[in-house]
């Protein structure tokens, strides 16, 4: 009930303004039907634009331990959302869990990440909602 009220009120807000649309649509490049929670060791953070990246030694769909690449949002969105450079780097060489969706073009081990659970247990949103979990699938 509360969720429904929230959504209705939010829609009321948004229907009164015309936003500049998202940076671009991750759902074109990444497959919303091939998403999973992936746990492994965070090895590196590239805090750059147009997208930051994190690299995780984790298991690919075949069960092999490999280096997985996760595309995040921009540094502007990350730092304003709480996923600062320091917050992400604090988990390097530690275990993290990432919600990731595989690349559509078959590039090995390349994902878009929407959330990351850091080593201290905090959860940060780090990318677009490719799966449309909130109904926020970012495509016109």
């Amino acid at each position: 009930m509360r969720a429904t009220a929230s959504l209705a009120c939010g829609l009321l807000v948004l229907l009164t303004w015309s936003p500049a649309f998202a940076h671009h649509a991750f759902a074109v490049e990444f497959d919303a039907t091939k998403c999973s929670d992936i746990t492994g060791t965070l090895t590196k953070v590239s805090y750059e634009n147009p997208h930051a990246y994190v690299f995780v030694n984790g298991k690919n769909p075949a069960g092999e331990t490999v280096e997985l690449t996760f595309q995040l949002s921009s540094t502007s969105n990350l730092k304003r959302g709480g996923a600062t450079y320091a917050a992400l780097n604090g988990s390097v060489n530690k275990e993290v869990t990432v919600r990731g969706c595989l690349s559509r073009n078959g590039t090995d081990n390349r994902y878009a990440a929407s959330f990351i659970k850091l080593a201290d247990g905090t959860i940060q949103r780090v990318g677009q909602d490719v799966e449309g979990i909130f109904g926020t699938k970012l495509w016109r």
Binding site: T16, A22, V28
Partner: protein, 271 residues
């Protein structure tokens, strides 16, 4: 005034939700926010010449802060259809999703131009105005423009050259600043694949109805592409209290990845 009533009612609706959250599952973590709009905040400030001062750090949307993690779907306000000429309509509709991504300035890191700096930009603006001049800083890829607001004419035709932001001049119509741009580089898009000709004429309007809100509207005239001029709805931006942050586009992997996907889709005969 009606928009403020709607925004305030909507904010009141949100409060019980925001305060009632208990344990959150993985996908409803910090950073996923329901937008809470700012109040109007009082009348807009004015400059020494009496015109409205548009200065401020402006976030797209009504919250005065970043909305990238909003849990509410993005909605585009209802607007008239784009009055494309038939050949242009056919070209526009032929674009695949991958084509649109590859052509997006936000993917290939090219200049967004005018009016793309508003229509294709989810990030923050800083505007500084003084009598006779507007300085516009755009966080996305560290862009900027400086516009005379004294109503001076455009450059002479023989002095014009294609520019991403165009040859720009501005004047006041009451409390609305009207920015007039011509000679805009054909590589820019109006938004989302809406291409244009060398005859593009963009008329932008900026107004500050209250302290906390800036509103933006644009008109497109393009006799080589459109059958008649087209005017957008008013876009809302709101006053933030953060500095712009550096945002240079340097590590661009998406073009190569999307080109690979385009080749695969072409081979498979998919649109």
């Amino acid at each position: 005034m009606r928009i403020y009533v709607v925004l305030i009612v909507a904010a009141l609706c949100v409060l019980p939700v925001a305060t009632g959250a208990q344990e959150k599952p993985f996908v409803q973590a910090r950073g996923s926010v329901v937008p809470v709009p700012l109040p109007p905040g009082g009348p807009p400030p004015r400059m020494s010449d009496g015109h409205v001062d548009l200065s401020g750090v402006w976030f797209p949307g009504p919250t005065g802060k970043a909305n990238a993690w909003s849990v509410v779907p993005e909605q585009r306000a209802k607007e008239d259809p784009i009055p494309f000429q038939p050949w242009a309509e056919a070209k526009y509709k032929s674009f695949t999703r991958v084509d649109l991504e590859l052509g997006s300035a936000n993917v290939n890191c090219s200049p967004v131009g005018t009016p793309g700096m508003f229509t294709d930009n989810a990030y923050v603006h800083q505007i500084d105005t003084k009598p006779g001049q507007l300085i516009h800083l755009i966080e996305n890829n560290n862009r900027w423009r400086v516009i005379h607001t004294d109503g001076r004419p455009h450059k002479k035709p023989e002095d014009l050259e294609p520019l991403f932001n165009g040859d720009e001049t501005a004047h006041w119509e009451g409390d609305t600043l009207v920015i007039d741009s011509i000679s805009i580089d054909e590589r820019t898009w109006i938004r989302d694949g809406w291409f244009h000709s060398d005859q593009l004429h963009v008329i932008e309007r900026l107004r500050r109805p209250s302290l906390n809100y800036l509103e933006y509207q644009f008109t497109i005239e393009d006799p080589k592409v459109l059958t008649k001029p087209w005017t957008s709805t008013w876009m809302t931006l709101s006053l933030g209290h953060e500095d712009l942050t550096e945002n240079f586009c340097t590590r661009n992997e998406n073009v190569e990845q999307l080109q690979k996907l385009a080749e695969q889709q072409k081979a498979a005969g998919k649109k």
